[in-house]
Amino acid sequence: MSPPAVRLSMPGSLRYRAVAVRVVAEACRLVSRPDAEGDASSPAYDLTHPFDAAVVSAFAEIFNNIAIHAYGRRGDGGIDIAIWVTDDSIEVELRDHGSPFDLSSVPVPALDELHEGGMGIHIARSLLDEVEYEPGPPNLWRLRKRLEAAPARASAGG
């Protein structure tokens, strides 16, 4: 596999979360709106494109879980993130040195009830094409999503 376009290493703490989320949001833009100017035209990252919304939402849940569960909110370890973008897909890997766990034992929430927790993994899995986890150290999360064939993209208007 070719080297990732973007690598980010940072503390595995919620305080730094926005750093990672913003990087992933920008990487999504490169996939979903490659014809846009190389830059956002506004300082807001916008998740109005469903591809960006899906990937960023899923990524944020997995990041939160690492900070909260793998590192127990202690922020005493790092997260290494690698991002590959192609014309029509994104792949994001996260590596941490926190406690491993058994992903297969996490139940799918019963959606006929309202839950106050246990929705993060379900959200991530539902929004992405693939969510893989290999317990470590380091623990490895591999997230993938393809851009669906564009449904008549709104014209750029320029």
Partner: protein, 102 residues
């Protein structure tokens, strides 16, 4: 009570909570405190306006569920309106669009 992320307005008829920006693992706890304060007052009618909410995560959803369940358990009414874009997609995914009557 209010913060950068929400504003609570109480009138004779109802309590209105406007949520804006990002409601996530970092910002949800402040709203959760406000929900506790509110529930102590046993309001009859709560309206949650999500028109200005840009992004939510599962922690944000959890606070809204807590509010919804809590107020209803006290016999109050809750209406959650205005979700769009990413938040709406998350509510749909969690099949909450029915419960919340979005």
């Amino acid at each position: 009570m209010s913060s950068e992320n929400f504003k609570v307005t109480t009138t004779a008829d109802e309590t209105r909570i406007q949520v804006r920006g990002m409601l996530d693992v970092n910002t949800a706890p402040t709203l959760a405190e406000a929900v506790d304060e509110l529930m102590a007052k046993r309001p009859a009618r709560v309206l949650v306006d999500l028109t200005a909410l840009d992004i939510i995560d599962s922690s944000g959803v959890a606070v809204l569920v807590k509010l919804y369940k809590g107020i209803r358990a006290q016999g109050g009414q809750v209406q959650i309106t205005g979700a769009r874009d990413q938040p709406l997609a998350i509510f749909k995914l969690l099949r909450m669009d029915k419960v919340f009557a979005l």
